[in-house]
Symmetry: C2
Subunit: 203 residues, 2 copies
DNA sequence: ACCTGAACACCGTTCAAGT
DNA sequence: ACCTGAACACCGTTCAAGT
């Protein structure tokens, strides 16, 4: 009788894991370290999550939802023009990704087996990008366009965080250049024939 | 006297580590596992590399050199037109990245502290992309253009390997679409005024 | 000069025992 | 229903000892 009451919560555990991840990378997220931060011992964590992968997946989902909020806020503060909304979104994503690079990596890379945000959370984070793309290139190409934009923004900020840009120069300007180039290409593609892009790729 | 002769080589160790990485991910690259593959015991590895990070960094350098060869070959087989060379390079990079996704991640992401290709190897792999970009957008914008193209190709294939594209559709077509959009945007940017891109980004 | 076994402090995970 | 200590098989790394 009088069963032991919970001394912590899933949210607290996820928060602790996220902090450790961002401060020291994946290997800093040990079950013992997480447990200590929330005032319990490592074995007790298995009452809240299946295993370390499950905990990291929960962190990924949490990060996806935070990103969605950050992007929604940024777009809400921007104008109504599609190109402007796209630019605001891209800039806001970079801020988010550079502020929490290791957490952001959980969203798109497979940092460990089984570690990925819940499909629903990923869909929610992706939805607004699809909307902007639809407005620019039409619904037939919206999915491809969203994938291209996401791949660029993720790839660029991931490389930037990793220190992969080692030749000097203005990295932020390169990012803005990339967004401008993509926007120009997409707008031009939108008025072309449906198969213009494929034709161009093989030219 | 008669000091023990080497039973293995740095190249063999790097190859074993690379195989384990590609087959089972980073956590499958254990010092004991690598040692067993080359017929020695784990402690002996420390006569060849400082530590696990050093070994992984050597793998990253090796991968960078392999990528350079693959890209050089692909471009040599393509035509002389800059846009065609760019396309051939992008397609060849995707083939390489999808064939060895976990090794490729070592090139641009920071999968673990201190794990990155040697600067010289990275520079060699990056040089030809810079050349193509110079031909398309001029030397003033070549570095930014190369960063944008690399970020897109890396980000896209990384997401593709991670299974991040979950909404169906033709993923390969999206990649070709992205290359076409970037090529179109870069060519257009090349004839614009120097600051056209930045202006566009803020429009 | 390279390899080895033994040892160290860690790690994720399981499980019986507590409340 | 949740928490714990003890135990398991691992892990990277160090080091004295071998050849």
């Amino acid at each position: 009788m009088s069963p032991a009451r919970a001394r912590t919560s899933q949210a607290a555990i996820i928060g602790a894991a996220r902090d450790l991840l961002e401060d020291g990378g994946l290997e800093a997220v040990s079950m013992a370290g997480v447990a200590e931060r929330v005032g319990i011992k490592a074995p007790s964590l298995y009452k809240h999550f299946d295993d370390r992968s499950g905990l990291l997946a929960a962190v990924a989902t949490e990060v996806a939802l935070q990103l969605e909020r950050a992007l929604t806020d940024a777009v809400a503060r921007s104008g109504a023009d599609p190109a402007t909304r796209l630019d605001a979104r891209a800039v806001a994503y970079r801020s988010f990704a550079l502020a929490t690079p290791r957490a952001s990596a959980l969203l798109f890379a497979s940092v460990a087996p089984g570690v990925a945000p819940a499909p629903e959370a990923q869909a929610r984070a992706a939805h607004p990008v699809l909307e902007v793309c639809k407005a620019i290139v039409g619904s037939a190409r919206a999915l491809s366009a969203a994938r291209v934009l996401t791949a660029f923004a993720y790839g660029f900020t991931s490389m930037e965080s990793a220190g992969a840009f080692r030749f000097g120069g203005d990295v932020e300007e390169a990012y803005r250049f990339g967004i401008a180039v993509l926007a120009a290409g997409l707008e031009r593609g939108a008025v072309d024939a449906p198969d213009a892009a494929a034709t161009h790729a093989r030219a």
